[in-house]
C-alpha cells in the first residue's frame, strides 16, 4: 500500500480534513481550485526524491489573501499546510509528510514588474525560473541562479530552498539575488520584508531569514529580485586529467589566478566511465577527472582567459583540453555532463543523491575518502558537481531489491556526512534539509544553534501547522 501520510495524520493534536473544513476551503479559493480525489492526492504526494506520501487535500490559491485565510483556518482547527511550487525539490521540502493541505503556487505565476533602470524585478512565486530568465534576457538582463531544473522549477521554490546551480561559483546562489519578499506568516499576517534598493539595513534582515527556510516559517507570495546586465558572451572548454587531485589543483589555481569561471563542473572517474559506457563518445576511460569550464564576460577578453586556463592546466597531469569554437561544439562538450543523469541509472535503478559542500581545497580528499566508504560497503558511487564552489553531488546508486543494499547505503551516507563535516563542509549546498537530511542535522549543527532555530519556528508558527516534520528530527 501507499506509505500513508494519513497514518501520520493522526499525529497528536492535528485534525482530519472533514467535509466541513473542505467546504470552508472551497469557499475561500473556489471549488474548482480544490482537488480531493485519490488520483489527485497521489499526484501531489511526491517530488524529485524517491519518497511518496499522501496529502489530505490539494489547493491552488489565487492570492496572498486566500493563503492567509487558509492559514488562519489551519491554526483554528490545527491541520498541516505544506507549500509546493513545481515539486522538483530533492529533499522532500514540499512533501506533506504529516498529511494536511498542499498549497500549490502555480496560479500565482505573474512577472509583476521588470525595472530595467533599477535592475530589479518583482515576481510571484509560481513563475518558472527558466521563463523568468528568458524574459529578462530578452531585455538584456540576467538572473544567474541556474538549478539543473531551471526549465521546470519555480522561483518560489528556489527562494524557499535557496537553490544554487553551476553558475554559483561566480554569481552566487538565490539568496544573493533576493532583495525583499512578501510573506504570509503561519498565523496569517501578510508582511513585507527587505527593500527595492541595493542597500538596506533597517531592522533585522527578515528577508534572509525566509530565504532557505524551506517553507517552514512562512509562505512566500511575492519576490523582489536583483538583476545583472547580461554578459556579452561565454566560452566553454573541457579538460581531462589523469587524477582527480590534478583536477582539484586546477580548480584552485584557476581561481587564485583571478579568473572566476561562470561554471566549473567536475566529473570523477566513475562518472566518466558511466557516461562513456552509455554514449561511446570517445572519453578516455582511464581519466581520473573531467572539468567543464565556462567563462563569460566581454567577448574580447574570453580568449585570454582560456589561454590562461590552458597554461595552468597544461602544467598538471592533463590528458587533453578541448575549447569550443561555436555553439555546436559547446553543446558537444556539455553532452557528457548532461548525459550523466540518465547514464547513472544504468548502474542501478535508485539514486541516493546528496549535495554536500566542502572547501574547494578538500575536493580531492573528499572524493577519495567517499569512494573508500562506498567500496568498503560494496556500493556503487559517482561523484560529480560544482567543483568551483566545492558543491559535490555524491550519489550512491542502489537496487532496493538487492538485499540490505539500502541499509548499507544509508550507513555510507552517514559516514560521508561525517567526513564532510570533518573537512569543514556542510551537509547540503543547495537542496535543503527537508525530510531527507533531518536525521543528520545534529552532525553539523550544535545543540544550541538547533534550539535557536526551533525557537524561531515556534515564535512564528506556535501551532506548528506550516510544513511540519521538516528540518528538525521529530
Amino acid at each position: 500500500m501507499i506509505p500513508m501520510a494519513q497514518e501520520n495524520n493522526g499525529r497528536k493534536g492535528y485534525c482530519d480534513l472533514d467535509k466541513n473544513l473542505v467546504r470552508q476551503i472551497e469557499a475561500i479559493v473556489g471549488k474548482e481550485n480544490v482537488l480531493s480525489s485519490i488520483e489527485d492526492l497521489i499526484c501531489y504526494g511526491y517530488d524529485a526524491t524517491n519518497l511518496e506520501v499522501l496529502p489530505g487535500l490539494v489547493v491552488f490559491p489565487n492570492s496572498a489573501k486566500e493563503i492567509s485565510q487558509i492559514l488562519i483556518l489551519a491554526n483554528k482547527n490545527r491541520f498541516p499546510v505544506v507549500p509546493r511550487g513545481m515539486g522538483t525539490g530533492f529533499s522532500g521540502g514540499s512533501l506533506p509528510v504529516w498529511g494536511g493541505v498542499v498549497l500549490v503556487t502555480t496560479r500565482l505565476n505573474r512577472i509583476l514588474e521588470v525595472d530595467t533602470e533599477n535592475l530589479i524585478a518583482i515576481v510571484e512565486p509560481g513563475v518558472v525560473t527558466g521563463d523568468f530568465q528568458k524574459e529578462v534576457e530578452r531585455l538584456g538582463l540576467f538572473y544567474p541562479p541556474d538549478p539543473a531544473s531551471q526549465l521546470y522549477c519555480s522561483l518560489g521554490g528556489n527562494v524557499a530552498e535557496c537553490a544554487g546551480g553551476p553558475r554559483a561559483v561566480k554569481y552566487g546562489v538565490t539568496k544573493d539575488y533576493v532583495l525583499g519578499l512578501e510573506v504570509v506568516l503561519p498565523t496569517g499576517e501578510i508582511i513585507e520584508t527587505g527593500v527595492k534598493t541595493m542597500k538596506g539595513v533597517v531592522g533585522y534582515d527578515l528577508t534572509k531569514l525566509f530565504v532557505g527556510s524551506e517553507g517552514t516559517l512562512g509562505m512566500i507570495t511575492k519576490i523582489i529580485l536583483k538583476l545583472l546586465p547580461l554578459p556579452d558572451a561565454r566560452k566553454t572548454a573541457m579538460v581531462l586529467f589523469r587524477d582527480v587531485e590534478d583536477a582539484a589543483t586546477a580548480v584552485s589555481r584557476i581561481i587564485s589566478s583571478k579568473i572566476i569561471p561562470s561554471t566549473l563542473e567536475l566529473m570523477d572517474h566513475a562518472s566518466i566511465q558511466c557516461v562513456e559506457d552509455y554514449l561511446n563518445m570517445g572519453l578516455p576511460k582511464d581519466a581520473g577527472a573531467l572539468l567543464l569550464i565556462e567563462v563569460d564576460g566581454d567577448r574580447e577578453v574570453l580568449p585570454k582567459y582560456m589561454a590562461k586556463i590552458d597554461e595552468i592546466t597544461s602544467g598538471l597531469n592533463r590528458l587533453e583540453m578541448k575549447i569550443a569554437e561555436n555553439d555546436e561544439e559547446t553543446q558537444t562538450l556539455w553532452k557528457a555532463r548532461r548525459a550523466l543523469s540518465p547514464a547513472s541509472y544504468r548502474l542501478n535503478p535508485t539514486k541516493m543523491a546528496e549535495d554536500i559542500t566542502v572547501p574547494r581545497t578538500e575536493i580531492a580528499t573528499f572524493i577519495r575518502e567517499a569512494r573508500k566508504i562506498a567500496d568498503e560497503r560494496n556500493l556503487k558511487i559517482i561523484n560529480f558537481g560544482h567543483a568551483g564552489d566545492g558543491n559535490l553531488h555524491t550519489s550512491i546508486m542502489i537496487d532496493e531489491k538487492n538485499g540490505d543494499e539500502k541499509k548499507r547505503a544509508e550507513e555510507a551516507i552517514e559516514e560521508i556526512f561525517k567526513l564532510t563535516v570533518r573537512l569543514g563542509g556542510t551537509l547540503s549546498g543547495e537542496h535543503g534539509v527537508g525530510t531527507t537530511k533531518a536525521p543528520y542535522l545534529h552532525l553539523e549543527l550544535k545543540h544550541d544553534a538547533i534550539e535557536v532555530m526551533k525557537k524561531i519556528k515556534s515564535v512564528l508558527d506556535p501551532n506548528n501547522i506550516l510544513n511540519p516534520g521538516k528540518i528538525f528530527k521529530t
Binding site: D40, I42, C43, T88, L151, Y152, S341, P342, Y345, P349
Partner: protein, 424 residues
Amino acid sequence: MIPLEPLREIAEKCVRCGICQSVCPVFAEIQKESAVARGKVTLIRKLLLKETGYSQKLSTYLLQCLGCGACSENCPNGVKADELILAARALMVEKRGLSLPKWVFLRGILRSVYLLPLLLKTGSLLQGLLLKKIPEESGLRLRFSLPYLDKDRFIPTTANPFFLDRYSEEVKAENATGRIGLFAGCSINYLFPSVGESTVRLLIRNRYSVAFPKDQACCGLPAYGSGDIETAKSLAWRNVEAFDRRDLEQIIVPCGSCFYFLKEGYLKLFPNDEKVRAFSRKMVEPSTFFLKQMNRSPQVNRSQDEHKKIRLTYHDPCHMRRGMKIYQEPRRLLQQSPEIEWVEMKQPDRCCGMAGSFNFVYYDLSRKILKRKIDDIEATRADCVATSCMGCLIQLKDGIHQRKLDTRAVHLVEVLEKAFPKGE
C-alpha cells in the same frame, strides 16, 4: 490480456524529476500534475500495484494526453510515457469497456465496411441544412452550435464522390517505371480527396502507376488511441489483406499519422507476424519518396525570374517528427524548390493539439494548444503552412479560419505539385 510486467518496468523507471512539465503542451495549459507524464506514470504504477482502481477519474486523466511524445523525447531516463499511457488506456478498456459514444463510433461505425460511407453519404446530402460554406476555404461551419461542435469551427466538407470512388482499381502511367499502392485513409477518402489527387498526379508525373485497393479501411489508429485494441486489430488485418492481394512493392501513405500506424503500430499489434512485417516494409510516405525521386532525376530549375515566390513554413506532425524521426526530408525537399521562400516557425514540432478524438473530448483545451501554434504561424507571415498529417491539417485550417489569417494550410503533396512545376 495485456501483459503487465513490461508496463511496470517502464513505470518504475520514472524518478519524478519533473522535466516533462517543461515540454508537455497539456501541462502548459492546465498546470496540474495529472496532466503531465510524471503524474500519469505515477498513477499507472499505482494501478499496476493495485493500490488504486480502474476509476472513471483515472480514465479521464489517461485520455487527457495528446500522445505527442514530447515527454518521452526529453526524458533523461528514457521513460516511454506516451506508450505507457496508450497501454494503460487499453487496460482501462479491457476492464471497464468503452464509453458509449466511443463504442458506437469505433465498434459500430468505423469497423463496419458499409456504415461509415453510408452515414457520410447521407451526411453530405444533409450538410447544407446544418452548415454553411466558408467562402475562402473548401470548408463549412455550423449554422448553430451543436453538442461537441462549436459554431465558429471549421468543418471539412464531405467529399462527393469519395476519393476512392474517383478512380478505377489502377491508374496507369505512360511509360511507367514502377507501380505503387495508395493508402488513402479516412480523411483523404471522405473529406480531402484533393490531397489524394495531388499525390496521384505527382506519382503519375514520376511515371508510377497507382493501385487503389477499394477494400482498404481506416488504419485503426483512432481505435488504438482510445484503447480499443480489438477494433484496431480487425481494421489492421483488413488493410494487410487488401494490399496483400494486389502484389505491390511499395505503398504510399500521404497522411503521417496513418503512415506511422501502418508502419510501426501494426508491428506492435501483431508482433511476430511475417505478413504484417512485409506489409510494414512496403510503407513509404511522400517526403522520403519524392526526395528520392528528385535525387534520381533532378528537376530543371526554372529561371529565378520576377515571379513571386511562396513564403512557406512547415508544421511537423508528432507522428512524423517523434514517431518516425522524419523531419529533415520535407525540409530538404521544399527548400530545393525555386518557387519557395522558406521560413521556419518557432517550435515547428510542438503539437497542434488535434490528436484525434482528444480534439472532440477536450475541445477547449485543444483550442488553447492550437492558439500557440497559430501564434507561431502568424509570426512567420507565411503565405502557406504545409504539413503532412491530415489531423494536423484539419486542426490548422480550423485555427487559421478562426484567426482570419491570410495563410493557407495545405498538405505537403499539394505544395510539391506547385513547387516543382513539370520539367520542360
